[in-house]
């Protein structure tokens, strides 16, 4: 990954419900993003953005918008994650509607529709100009496409999906602690297993060859006085057999079922409010784990997948991290967080190479909810809950 004077190319308007996920589709100029209403749009970006001057010096908009070309129709509740095969032929989405959907975004469209992606701007204008008709005025005409396949197997929110780099296997996890490994070619389950009762599978990742699975569990508060619980384990992805309990390795004295807050604090420094995103390095040696929830640290933890040893903490998103990915060469780890930044750090020494975006000032100012890296690694994108998708070119 070549990082040299990164430049913000686009800020794609995606207002209304929060953008929650983003993925490149085989190219740095084609990407998909989804939101908390379950809408997925696909953008075909021009090679170069037009000249752009911000309206105001401190405006959040610092790069031009481009409208999407297509809407993918099918989800009935928020999309939590998007991933795409390297060739961009297949997009996979996980949703709070309990489904995983597969899309072929390069196939012919099935129809057209009007889409309003500037809902917030319209509200402001309608209020300013006292014209309600602004809210319902026609938006952008987009192609529509239904999903090719819906993978059924989850009965609760599907919070996470991950895939091997060869795209042959997919792993998914839900809020009822169920994990499923799928054969992508045959669209069938290979194996399923369950985490601890009441836990949620908040993050799951597969190694590049799809043979090893990393699963992070976390239980959101049921009361101040219920047993705090989490798990972080490595599995054989073909059989679902546990290979390593990382938390047990890291905290051997911590007994399962321990109820004291003193003990909870031991692992809370590592777990924060759950390790909500995970990735496995291309060589399979390291796991990158993002401390999520609303937490002060928001560190990215790098852990050896074979031994469970904590190698180092890198970066840090004040108020919590939201997503993490390794670069294809395994030399960098990219993360987004509740500090509205996308941070890129070196794996070897943890040094931060760049922070894209900037904290918006004050406490709790929006999040960047997800990060995507283009297949050629020239471009990165981040979904912003303020209603945008930011696209940066890394070398200029």
């Amino acid at each position: 990954m070549n990082i040299n004077n990164p430049k913000l190319l686009w800020q794609l308007t995606f207002e209304g419900a929060w953008p929650t996920a983003v993925a490149f589709l085989g190219s740095s100029r084609k990407l998909a993003a989804a939101n908390q209403d379950g809408q997925i749009f696909v953008w075909d970006l021009p090679e170069e953005p037009p000249m752009f001057e911000p309206e105001k010096k401190n405006s959040e908009r610092k790069a031009p918008n481009h409208w999407p070309a297509r809407r993918l129709v099918g989800h009935t509740n928020g999309v939590t994650r998007l991933i795409a095969t390297a060739d961009g032929q297949t997009l996979v989405s996980a949703s709070l509607d309990h489904s995983i959907r597969l899309w072929q975004p390069n196939d012919a469209a099935t129809g057209t529709a009007d889409a309003i992606l500037d809902a917030d701007e319209r509200k402001n204008r309608a209020k300013r100009e006292k014209k309600d008709e602004i809210l319902t005025a026609p938006g952008v005409t987009v192609e529509t496409q239904a999903s090719a396949v819906a993978l059924a197997g989850h009965d609760d929110w599907v919070l996470t999906i991950g895939a091997g780099r060869d795209g042959r296997r997919l792993i998914s996890g839900d809020a009822s602690a169920r994990v499923i490994v799928w054969d992508m070619a045959e669209r069938r389950e290979i194996v399923r297993w369950s985490g601890r009762t009441w836990n949620w599978i908040v993050a799951a990742a597969l190694s590049a060859d799809g043979q090893t699975a990393l699963v992070s569990e976390y239980r959101y508060k049921r009361d101040d006085f219920d047993i705090p619980a989490a798990a972080l384990r490595v599995y054989d992805a073909a059989s679902g057999n546990e290979k390593l309990d990382i938390l047990k390795t890291m905290f051997p004295k911590l007994k399962p079922g321990e109820t004291s807050y003193g003990s909870a604090q031991v692992w809370r420094k590592f777990m924060a409010q759950g390790l909500v995103a995970a990735d496995i390095s291309p060589d399979g040696a390291l796991a990158a784990l993002a401390q999520g929830g609303e937490t002060d640290t928001g560190k990215i933890q790098l852990v050896e997948t074979a031994t469970g040893k904590l190698v180092r903490e890198v970066s840090g998103h004040q108020y919590g991290a939201t997503d993490v990915k390794f670069s294809a060469d395994g030399k960098h780890v990219l993360s987004t967080g509740r500090d509205t930044t996308l941070r890129i750090c070196q794996v070897d020494d943890g040094k931060e190479v760049t922070a894209l975006g900037s904290p918006r000032g004050g406490q709790f100012k929006d999040w960047l909810s997800a990060v995507a890296i283009s297949p050629d690694e020239s471009t990165v994108a981040a979904a912003d809950i303020a209603g945008m998708v930011h696209v940066w070119r890394l070398a200029n």
């Binding site: 508060k221 049921r222 006085f225 004291s260 100012k365």
Partner: protein, 422 residues
């Protein structure tokens, strides 16, 4: 905070008695008017009614429980499910309560006057806003006074991880809540580490000295001191009522394997043992951030326990005599903030009642399409408590006295919501 002990457990016996004596003086003077109403109290006590307050500390969201706004900008990510009452839907997080909707009445039009936690907690425990001049009693104390029994081994007002801090106010220390830990353990001061023989000898000596003192110095304060000590001694013989390990193994499935479930089981056991008022708390609803994750964590164990409690009470023939009150101190905002949270809101929120003659299967009142304002039948805190007292056969206009000032149980002008009570 250490979950194994709370503030009450750190109160020494000496400190407790000191506190009891200190407040007793005020209580006796202030509550003299209440002494004139023993006839009413006796009549009410014959009803043998109970109340269990399920208190959602921090303020549970109405949008994620009983008043969903699906498809609206304020709606959030959860979906509605049908209930056993035709045409009525509640949040998908409450599948077990959905099958008990015919037994509960939801008020979707709560409109209260304290938007922050301390004031809201006071309000939703007393029916009154905090005042510098009057120490209003929690309604548990009121129920203890009018439905409680004299000289019982068990306290008449028990809190299991309760959150109200108003106490018995001007009703005096006799009706002060007895607080036990979140896990249902008795406070340290409730037990004696003396052998029974030594304890008895010490008791007899103390009794002798107190009687002699009382003969020469007749005082209400001294009498209340003796009564408090006697109540503490009686509790020694009733400690078994708080031991529910065996019951828990049997009923864990019904109540759900959670701390809140165990508290609900203990409440049922205490109702069976004759305790008129029990408050059970569940914490952490103050979801300014990650509201949806938090409610998805908090609501399922709560509703499982609540549904189990209703089933258990019904099976034991206690449901018709036990009022279940479900409420927090505030509701949550229609607007979803940029922390995925909802903030405090009291202009329109939800609470629920069940049992003890409450007409179940109804959604009383209504919010507007976004849940911003009450559309129909607003219910104030006063109306809410007046209705509760009515269900418990206690006249909400009954007056006690703070000094010479008459104070009705529910604030002046409060109305019983007649549609809710049979």
């Amino acid at each position: 905070m250490n979950p194994l002990c709370n503030r009450a457990e750190h109160v020494s016996r000496r400190a407790l008695l000191k506190g009891v004596l200190g407040t007793a003086a005020g209580g006796v003077v202030m509550n003299w008017g209440g002494l004139t109403q023993t006839a009413l109290g006796d009549e009410v006590k014959k009803q043998q009614k109970h109340c269990i307050y399920l208190f959602m500390n921090g303020g549970a969201s109405q949008f994620e429980t009983f008043d969903m706004k699906v498809g609206r900008p304020t709606g959030g990510v959860f979906r509605p499910i049908s209930t056993n009452v035709a045409g009525t839907q509640i949040c998908e997080l409450m599948p077990k309560m959905a099958q008990q909707m015919d037994k509960i009445a939801v008020i979707r039009s709560m409109k209260t006057s304290e938007v922050d936690h301390p004031g809201g907690i006071y309000l939703m425990h007393t029916g009154y806003r905090p005042s510098a001049n009057v120490r209003f009693p929690e309604f548990g104390s009121v129920v203890a006074k009018y439905q409680g029994r004299e000289a019982t081994a068990l306290p008449n007002f028990i809190k299991i991880f309760g959150h109200g801090d108003a106490g018995s106010g001007f009703l005096g220390p006799k009706y002060q809540p007895f607080e036990i830990s979140p896990e249902g353990q008795l406070p340290q001061f409730s037990g004696s580490n003396l052998s029974p023989e030594k304890e008895l000898r010490r008791h007899e000596l103390r009794n002798f000295l107190e009687e002699r003192y009382a003969q020469e110095n007749p005082s209400e304060l001294a009498r209340m001191h003796r009564e408090s000590y006697e109540a503490a001694r009686r509790l020694q013989g009733a400690r078994q009522a708080f031991k529910v390990d065996a019951e828990w193994e049997k009923y864990k499935g019904l109540y759900g394997d959670s701390a809140f479930g165990r508290r609900c089981l203990l409440a049922r056991c205490l109702v069976e043992a004759g305790v008129p008022f029990i408050e059970i708390g569940q914490s952490s609803y103050d979801s300014h951030a990650d509201n949806f994750s938090w409610h998805k964590g908090l609501v399922p164990p709560m509703e499982h326990a609540w549904a189990g409690l209703m089933t258990d009470l019904t099976d034991r023939g206690l449901f018709d005599k036990t009022l279940i009150v479900w409420a927090g101190e505030i509701g949550r905002t229609p607007n979803i903030n940029n922390r995925a949270g909802r903030d405090h809101y009291v202009r329109c929120w939800s609470a629920a009642l069940a049992g003890c003659g409450i007409k179940g299967g109804q959604m009383y009142g209504a919010s507007d399409e976004n849940g911003v304002e009450v559309k129909d039948n607003p219910v104030s805190e006063g109306d809410f408590f007046a209705t509760i007292y009515k269900a418990l056969s206690i006249d909400p206009t009954t007056q006690n006295f703070a000094g010479v000032r008459p104070i009705p149980l529910a604030p002046f002008g409060s109305k019983v919501v007649g549609d809710l009570v049979s």
